[in-house]
């Protein structure tokens, strides 16, 4: 019997450290964005609310793709499960939104476990294609199973977030709840990343063979990482449904995959801050460029390309380069 399974890093003669300038800068930017949202009108609240929901989605995706080094083009399937699950449970069966969110997360986790077990035996492009098919299948189901999903008509009448007598009635209250859940999600991801399990996942990302040789149960951990990403995606889907009050199949379509990948790579895959930065930049940039009118899309794409060319590890990677850890 082993004495303990906790494995914190022993400190012997560490020389790294210094002022966490990156953390201070990112926290200041975060506070600015939040302050801007709460002082602005309804539209800005909605845009930043979407950014926060996407940030949660991408934080989960980042765990599977960034930390564990796997490919998934189908996490939108779990967002759809979350969205439709919450919608049906609250609007049709009268569940409390918070309870519905938790139940759909649990359901999505079980689905991820069942689907991931055979799928994650695939690698590389084959895994990417299989997960992409998962997203497409879910999309088709959401269109064609009209008795449950109401197809293209979409699902309306979804109540706002809340539990018992406490409901987030205004968009700003809803945004506050979403931001709190996002903060919890990010803290959980950071704790997981630095845990024994998280280090094992990063080892799998480095080399599955080497990780296996060290005794890391590669297949099992890939599956757990996939389930974690599904839980985040499901929560994001549920939050979207409650935030907007309406969902339709397009919300969780292929565009969601493209959008989340853009956020992940632009923000910095494999970092905790990356999904947050990516979600904010990709959500706000088009809005900030509305003044360009017909050239808005071109300007937006030029900036995205510029970031990806000059900061191939994303904005978080660029910050690492500009504000490295102080040695001493």
């Amino acid at each position: 019997m082993r004495s303990s399974r906790t494995m914190t890093l022993p400190v012997t003669t560490s020389t790294s450290g210094g002022l966490p300038w990156r953390h201070i800068l990112l926290a200041a930017l975060g506070v600015l964005v939040v302050a801007f949202a709460f002082s602005a009108n309804g539209y800005v609240v909605t845009v930043i609310g979407f950014a926060a929901i996407y940030a949660l989605f991408c934080t989960g995706l980042n765990f599977f793709m960034g930390f564990t080094g796997q490919a998934s083009f189908g996490q939108n399937a779990f967002a759809a499960l979350g969205g439709y699950g919450s919608a049906i449970l609250t609007a049709d069966y009268g569940f409390e939104p918070a309870i519905a969110l938790i139940l759909t997360m649990a359901f999505s986790g079980v689905v991820a476990l069942v689907v991931g077990y055979p799928t994650l035996r695939l690698r590389g492009h084959y895994l990417a294609m299989a997960t992409f098919a998962l997203g497409l299948i879910t999309y088709e189901i959401s269109i064609n199973w009209t008795d449950v999903t109401q197809g293209y008509m979409g699902y309306s009448g979804i109540p706002p977030l809340g539990i018992g007598p406490y409901y987030a009635d205004t968009p700003k209250q809803q945004l506050a709840v979403i931001l709190i859940l996002l903060a919890l999600g990010v803290l959980a991801a950071a704790a997981l990343k630095n845990s024994r399990f998280g280090r094992a996942c990063r080892a799998i990302a480095g080399s599955e063979l080497a990780a296996g040789a060290l005794g890391i149960p590669v297949a099992r951990y890939k599956l757990v990482s996939f389930v974690i990403a599904a839980l985040y995606a499901s929560a994001a889907g549920s939050l979207f449904a409650h935030f907007v009050g309406f969902i339709s199949p397009e919300v969780f379509g292929t565009a969601m995959v493209v959008q989340s990948f853009t956020m992940l790579y632009l923000g910095g895959i494999g970092t905790i801050a990356g999904p947050l930065i990516g979600a904010v930049v990709v959500s706000l940039l088009p809005e900030l460029m509305r003044g360009l009118k017909d050239y808005q899309t071109i300007g937006y794409l030029v900036i995205l390309l510029g970031i990806l060319i000059y900061a191939p590890k994303g904005v978080a990677g660029l910050l690492d380069r500009l504000l490295p850890k102080r040695e001493g």
Binding site: R2, L214, V218
Partner: protein
Amino acid sequence: MTTPLLEIRDLSARYGHVEALKPTSLTVAEGELVTILGPNGAGKSTLLRAVTRLTPGPGAILFKGRDVSALPTHKLSELGIILVQEGRGLFGDMSVRENLVLGAYNAGGDTAEIAARMEKVFSLFPRLKERLDQKAALMSGGEQQMLAIGRAMMAGPKLLMLDEPSLGLAPRVAGEILETLGELNRQGLGILLVEQKAPLALRLARRVYVLSLGRIVAELPSHEIKSHHDLARYYLH
């Protein structure tokens, strides 16, 4: 007769239609250092991968007399069968410290125990202590090999298997590393060593197996290799 530390019986492995390792049997006694020699493509690496089930195949693997053939890689690692792969298999983006901690992944133990293991590794390879926060990818080849062996030692191995640890290293560094392996063996650690630098490896080993085209073609005490002119010509010059 004492039970061998490792005994394999008719172990084979294939990649698709190619049988890279034909039914092979060998033993490693407790505290013994055994070397496997053979030209490129002889099946040496496949043999080590088959033993650790990274490349599973039919045949029996007995560890301290217990049949472990059906166990997956991570369970074998828990028993103390540890492989240092060719190319070292380090996690380049992680620091030396993180690589070492991952080595103890299956060995359990609290922070103090892991720190104590690290100190033992530093006593073998003091240079690792100086590079503790350096990314593994930024180290020299010799330091990387030290880290790979140090990481394997963090797992508390009962049988350490190494696939060409001197590959790509300067002769002096390779010599240092093989001397350290000799020291570990003198402390009682069983070692199965695949090595191209035969003169060095043969100096450490008690017995040698020669592998060719996926099968063992000779098994002999290492000092006898000089008397086999064909083997001596091939491996000692």
